[in-house]
Amino acid sequence: MRLRRRDLAGLLLAAPFTIKNVLSAAAQDDQALSYHRQAKIDWRQAAGQSLAIGLNKHPFTESLLPLIPEFRSLTGINVDYLILPEAEYFTRLVADLSQQRGEFSVIMTGPMRNWQYVPPNWILPLDDFLSNPKLTDPGWFKLDDFYPALIAANRWNGKTGSGVGEGPLYSIPVLEESYILAYRKDIFDQYNIKVPTTLEEMADAARLVKKNAGIPGIVARGTPGLASMGTGFVSGLKSYTDGKWSEFDEKLNANFHDPRSVAFTETWIRMVRDSGPANWANMQWYDAMEAFTAGQGGMIADADFFAASYENPAKSKVAGKVGYALIPAGAGGKTYAGLWTWALGINSATKNKEAAWLFVQWATAQRTLLNASLGYRNFNPSRTSVTNDPRVQEIMRPWGGGSYVTTVAKNLETAKVAWTPESERQRVGDIWGRALHEIYFQRMSAADALKKASTEADKILQEAGIKL
């Protein structure tokens, strides 16, 4: 076994939480086991086999670790795991998948990641497992309990440039992440600032907050890469263009220099430069989230579940002072936010496919995901039954005076994966982010910088053989 048996650092950091939850999990053990045993399958059909799981450092991962003994006693399958920080994790994963070593049996992935792994057949479609009565009890597992938009996001027909939501299911979502606007309700009320519904109003609001309250009117991710472009920014741009713009046309020609995209980018960058924090260009997602949580931002358009941090009174200076709204829309008045789910998939090179599926099924079961949300603030739930659980509602309901729950629900009606499926998404996002820096530092005009980004993106797609 090439794996380290434990990620020591991760375990040490998580220790105070882990120990507590191992105890409480042990107390519930019999109850949980009897819940899982209600499934009409033979959990012990792969007893004695071994699995290795590749995990990204994440609250969901924290919630899973203390429960692994439960899986072991349920199935008799040995589980080894490796936890890595996100960037290292994905590099290690591609190294494993591309050489078909089968080091990891179960992997943590998600819709856009799958676009890299599906064309070379590195991960398995899960439909065969789902429809096999020997392996899955559909009445117990309840695939339709998951939000339809999230399941759709994890389906793909494998054709570059289209087909998300069609074709096989490649991974089962463990959480939902979409993008909404969070704002400082106390400041907006005090200075009579209108909650923005358009981009121009958003820029105005940012300016007013900065002028009146003396804090940055907007905080946002600014490091030049995919993570900054693919979240709040792309959600704003999609909404601004009424969902009609996408970064590639049907012939996979890059569209960053589209006039609507240029107009949006100009306003956005001006807003960030005039009313944003001085270090926008060096802000990762956690910098932006922490700045807002520390009361150093009037607005943030980013992941919805960051609310779990904003509203955590132990850590946040703004708990109870935040309002939630949809990302500002375009002329059509509708929001088109992006969407991401962390999800579990199966390596096609693994020797123990059935055991791997048993693990995925167990880890995405209602009870396991409920524990992740209750015990580890793994938000937002991917299963409706978890969202609707009274104890989860008790946590989420008070956020933003109730506006959080309604905003997230409304947002999910139109939110979908914002990207065109292709395997060079990381690179294309990095190219795009670099263009934003050229504009922010006034080295190039928005039109020129975005034109250059389109040319570079076209070149990469050709080099990778995706586009002829």
Binding site: A87, T91, V94, A95, S98, Q99, Q116, P120, G222, T223, P224, P277, A278, N279, W280, A281, N282, Q296, S423, Q426, R427, D430, R434, H437, E438, Y440, F441, R443, A464, G465
Partner: protein, 302 residues
């Protein structure tokens, strides 16, 4: 009979001994040469982790394409410029600190011990610590302290110049003790006779520094310069932990670029070509500096 055999056995063991003693070094050499050779080979291929089927031998295509890569020119410029400034600043300051500690000032043993602290810290931790202190708002400790002497908040990591200066400061903080300690060791090993003679002749302290200390110390100066040059050319941890090469690619050096190509974009072939170019740069720089060191050592010995 038995003694003859024993002696023969002993002689055979004696013949094997050099190889046995060399073995650890040989293992180390193979352990270094294998990845090096592999990297060199990959730099001549189109190796792209994401597309194993497109693996081809492309000769020098990766090197040729570097010329038309705008980021390469910027990265090269930053690599060389940063190295030049970092070596001058660090060796200059290090010399000042060493001279200061060499003088008989009270409590210098305590200062010397304290100076070791940065050396004990992993560079990534150092960088993260500084990143927190260098917050761009007034909330950052560094900007707060600077406000007492009337300096406006500095945008450390959010501006291109600020980021370059920040990386330089962090790298200097971490490596100054090393430079100072080597030079202090050198100072303490200098012969005392020339100084006594100079004192008798009534030479000023400045003249003694200029005509005695610096020439005598030059082997040590060139030595730390060699170390610092090689390290500055391939600085990575500080950049990775603070600026990630930004903003606007202002702190992207060759090594960070190679990292991005190899591990973020999975273009191993191109990334390896960039790493090989960096390696050549380091080899040339250290060759020049080592010749300089030889000459300095000869001169100092005379």
């Amino acid at each position: 009979m038995t003694t003859v055999r024993k002696r023969r056995q002993y002689r055979r063991q004696e013949r094997l001994l050099p190889y046995l003693l060399l073995a650890p070094a040989l293992v180390l050499l193979v352990g270094m040469l294998y990845p090096f050779g592999l990297g060199l080979y990959y730099s001549l291929t189109s190796y792209w982790l994401q597309y194993p089927n497109r693996f081809r031998f492309v000769w020098f295509d990766n090197y040729v394409s570097l010329v038309s890569e705008p980021l390469f020119a910027r990265a090269m410029q930053f690599t060389l410029g940063f190295t030049l400034v970092a070596v001058i600043v660090q060796v200059g300051l290090g010399l000042a600190v060493a001279l200061f500690l060499h003088a008989r000032i009270p409590g210098r043993n305590v200062i010397r011990a304290l100076m070791l602290m940065p050396l004990m810290m992993p560079p990534v931790i150092t960088a993260l610590m500084w990143k927190i202190m260098m917050a761009s708002t007034n909330g950052g400790i560094l900007n707060y302290m600077l406000s007492f002497i009337g300096v406006d908040p500095i945008n450390w990591f959010g501006s291109t110049q600020g980021a370059v200066v920040s990386v330089l400061i962090i790298d200097t903080w971490g490596n100054l003790p090393f430079v100072a300690l080597v030079l202090l060791g050198g100072l303490q090993a200098l012969p005392t006779e020339p100084y006594e003679a100079a004192q008798v002749d009534g030479a000023s302290p400045v003249a003694m520094l200029r005509y005695l200390t610096l020439p005598l110390l030059s082997p040590f100066l060139v030595l730390v310069m060699t170390f610092r040059t090689m390290d500055s050319l391939r600085i990575f941890d500080v950049i990775y932990a603070t600026t990630a090469g930004g903003p606007n690619d202002a702190t992207t050096n060759l090594l960070f670029m190679a990292y991005q190509y190899s591990f973020q974009w999975y273009q191993m072939g191109k990334g390896m070509a960039q790493a090989v170019v960096l390696l050549l740069l380091i080899v040339i720089a250290s060759y020049v500096l080592l010749r300089l060191w030889n000459r300095a050592a000869e001169n100092a010995a005379q």
